[in-house]
């Protein structure tokens, strides 16, 4: 039986949710998997809620549907918890990875999801001077799930961000690794 992993990213326009999904799918491709990434744009403006989806499988992926029952959700902006049904459909025991210092206390906790909080904005500001949370969260996702390797993520970050200059590449590589370490450390949360 082929194994299919599905990830749903929730962010706001400008945070890099769509890029994160593309990078994840490219890393999965580097690792030899079939993969697919695509965005769901709202009104395509900065600050508007954005979703992006990734499928990773060991067999060809035929469906181009949105992801309704993710194995992991990645929440790039914690304020979306109040605005969007970010945990909807999350598989039992699935991972909820959030850009925050600590997992939120929710009144309606979904069944048995696993929280992982990574302060991606904070470490991005330290590295880049601006909050670009996506690469740190990708590192954490890789560590917490094992669905892609850190070297594969490093390869695609180098390739895809290469045009933006060496400073951006090295800062994002550092963010990937920091996110990866935090993902390992905080797995038990």
């Amino acid at each position: 039986m082929p194994v299919m992993r599905q990830v749903r990213f929730h962010g706001r326009g400008g945070q890099g949710a769509v890029s994160a999904a593309a990078l994840l799918s490219m890393a999965a491709f580097e690792d030899g998997f079939e993969s697919q990434a695509f965005p769901k744009f709202g009104s395509e403006r900065r600050g508007a809620p954005v979703e992006a989806y990734v499928r990773i499988s060991d067999a060809p992926i035929r469906s181009h549907n949105q992801v309704y029952t993710p194995d992991a959700v990645v929440i790039l902006d914690a304020t979306l918890l109040r605005a969007e049904p970010v945990l909807q459909g999350l598989r039992e025991g699935g991972l909820a990875l959030i850009n925050a210092d600590a997992a939120p206390a929710l009144r309606t906790e979904p069944t048995g999801c696993r929280w992982l909080a990574v302060p991606a904005d904070r470490i991005s500001v330290a590295q880049l001077g601006r909050p670009f949370p996506n690469t740190a969260l990708l590192g954490a996702l890789a560590a917490a799930t094992g669905w892609v390797d850190l070297p594969a993520l490093e390869t695609v970050v180098r390739r895809q961000l290469g045009g933006k200059g060496e400073h951006v590449v090295s800062a994002n590589l550092a963010l990937l690794r920091q996110g990866f370490e935090l993902g390992q450390d905080r797995r038990a949360t």
Binding site: S35, Q36, S43, R62, Q66
Partner: protein, 404 residues
Amino acid sequence: MKRQIEGSQAVAEAVRLCRPQVIAAYPITPQTHIVERLAQMVADGDLVAEYVSTESELAAASVVLGAVAAGARAYTASASQGLLLMTEVLFNIAGLRLPVVMTCANRAVGAPINIFNDQQDSLSLRDAGWIQLYVESNQEAVDTLIQAYRIAEACELPVMVCMDGFYLTHTVESVDLPDQAQVDAYLPPMHFARTLDPAAPSTLGGGSEPDNYLEYRQAHHRALERALVEIETAAMSFADLFGRAHGALLDSYCTEDAERILVTVGSAMGAVRDVVDALRARGERVGALRLRCLRPFPTAALVQALQGARRVAVLEKAISVGLGGIIVTEVRAALHHAGVRVPVDGFVGGLGGRDLTPDSIAAVFAASAAAGAAPIDCCFVDAAEDPPSPPPASPVKEPLHGPS
């Protein structure tokens, strides 16, 4: 070489491999990434072509008309309102029998304004005299674009390659991009016998009178009918050379022994295949048929593929408002004309980006199976019970910004 690449970027690579000499376009979501990438290739010197950034889609279509009339291989792309703005020129391109190739990044048509996918835009132009091919995946979008130039130039007819906006254009998935030598072997340099030549002046697009206009239209119709063979040939020789096939006129899945067959168009077929597998695992003898070519309409092949079924359902992302489904009407006519008496149920769904989920598709199969002797005329898939008021009557929650 296999690459994990966005659909629009992959199509731009395919265009580059076809060595176009003129590209003219006006950007519109969800086509933008294709022409943006092509403009970048030209600016970087990776593609030697004239890139004309026009002031409108009407102008873009006019530029490719002129370019091809002058013997150049040309490309344009559009969607939705942009495609409709091209309409006048698209009819002229076809009537002049110019081998233009374009991509339609299928998108809904306003009003209400909607940037998301359905196939109303290109289906509204089904009578424009173009060959229309619809693809399921980004690999097929690339391969079909290359085939399109060969078909267009062999038939002296324009070809529109239609790919679902967002579902394909914005999806990053693996695509095997052929190398230049392979494409050169498949697609010879453009030779257009009726090229305008200042050394031998002639008129292209002169007037026609009541005593010969009808014959021009008849000849155009016959040319499209003959193109059926060229479309099949192009797909077959592509498979020989590149080792990949996506069907030719049709693409069937588990239809051989199927009692019930779902007919659809475009990227929704991927999820339909998954649903067919799930239903077959429960013992249901179902199959699916994708119309890859909608113009010319593949009547004979369609009748052949459907005549063994007990029931047919058509699921389409467009509507002839006031009639019902467009494709279902054509499927019914084809079967009726051939004397095949099978009930054909009509389903319209996925409009304006509404996702046709596996559950929705399974519900279509179930509704068709449960229907009585009289076919379902036009069922709107997943439609709310209470339809909204016409757009001007709805309250404005926030100012509308964003792309057109």
